[in-house]
Symmetry: C2
């Protein structure tokens, strides 16, 4: 049996009872390598589960798909995934390949950033494709987050922008830095989608039990204090009046 | 302290360790009345938590918002919510009202139907507004699900359609029944968005650990066996070729 188990968005305490029970039953436990998104160490996971956790980079997990599925023919194998296992296409391939090979799969769902962003109060079905800003965005002339924002705005969709982080070297992109990246691309590309007066939502610790949500113009949000990382931005598209009211309330 | 705690999509085992710990610490525990969506009884929840659970209809929870928030000034109060607490606007009002009253709120996230539908393999950000078909749709001339489908297709968005259920009287709308409702509305309204050749996805037990996903034309899907309820339909809009490939694979 192959278990695809979501770990949710916080630390080792965010696994479900069903998920923990399954991990404890497994002979082999893989963790997909987005460990930087976990607010705990691999050792803390191992202590809770009472077994060894094999950390595998995301690309590795894809490359090892056949091997992992085959091993689940005779053993109970868990693949742990930060967030919800079904939010990424890779894991759906696991389901389908396993089915082809006659290996049974059980998915244990959990919280995903795609619904945790609901805390902001904008309708979830009005979010377009999520994007992220990498540390090297300016140096490498990356325009992908700006392009994603442009595409979403064209379709009147909101945009969730995740900011890069590297807890090992204690580096976290801040909201002012991210806004400067977007303003910098705007200056070069000039499609007129963001400026100092654009209303944006700054968020810290989305999906944790103490998120901060603050709303203002780019100029205002750049001056706000969001406390500890990780950070994200939401750039709203056209707002329904109920959404406007909710954003207004976050200004209190 | 007020805790908004997601229960996830299955039974009492789908709460997270963080959520269970919080419930056990609370003096008063409310459960928002979507208990029909839980695959366990309120008694099973009470046994796990070791305390009384007060079931409150959804409208009641909204009406009681002030009372619940005020009681959380002096006590630890939990409001349990099926799925993820931040997928519905009501609960965001709780956050905002509590902030106004100076009451601290902790949200414990969990799985939501909005990401669990990811199992189908269509991009989550390409889903439009979710809709549902009530039992009395035909008798009462309800066209809302058809209208939602039309709106989503206009914007090239996929539609998740949840089918009504009433476990107390052991009634579950089946996929053929739901398709007949949509075909019936099509016949009257005639916008030409669904017919026997339209490709749709039938799903059973979405969010559980044994979902069934099957793809075919309306005519084909009406003949398929999906096993036990609850059921849902996905009516895809324009597909990216990767999405087409995934749907193709579900046909195997």
């Amino acid at each position: 049996m192959l278990y695809l188990i979501g770990l949710g968005l916080g630390n080792e305490q965010d696994i479900t009872l069903r998920g923990l029970d399954a991990v404890k039953r497994c002979d082999v436990v893989y963790l997909e390598g987005y460990t930087s998104l976990l607010q705990c160490s691999v050792e803390e996971l191992e202590t809770l589960y009472g077994k060894k956790v094999i950390v595998s980079a995301r690309g590795d997990v894809e490359n090892k798909m056949d091997e992992i599925i085959d091993s689940a023919k005779e053993k109970d194998v868990a693949l742990l995934i930060v967030g919800d296992p079904m939010s990424a296409t890779t894991h759906i391939s696991f389901l389908i390949e396993a089915r082809k090979k006659g290996v049974e799969v059980k998915v244990v769902h959990n919280a995903s950033i795609l619904t945790a962003v609901g805390v902001v109060g904008l309708e979830l079905y009005k979010y377009g494709k999520m994007t992220s800003i990498p540390f090297h965005a300016v140096a490498q002339g990356v325009t992908a987050p700006y392009d994603a924002l442009f595409g979403n705005l064209e379709c009147e969709l909101h945009t969730l922008v995740l900011l890069d982080l590297d807890p090992v070297s204690n580096k976290f992109m801040t909201i002012p830095e991210a806004l400067d990246v977007l303003l910098g691309i705007e200056e070069k590309v000039g499609k007129g989608i963001i400026n100092l007066d654009t209303v944006v939502v700054g968020v810290a610790r989305l999906g944790s039990d103490n998120p901060v949500v603050r709303v203002g113009t780019v100029k205002e949000v750049k001056e706000m204090d969001f406390g500890k990382s990780p950070f994200a931005l939401i750039i709203p598209s056209k707002l329904h009046f109920v959404e406007e009211e909710v954003l207004e309330m976050w200004k209190c």
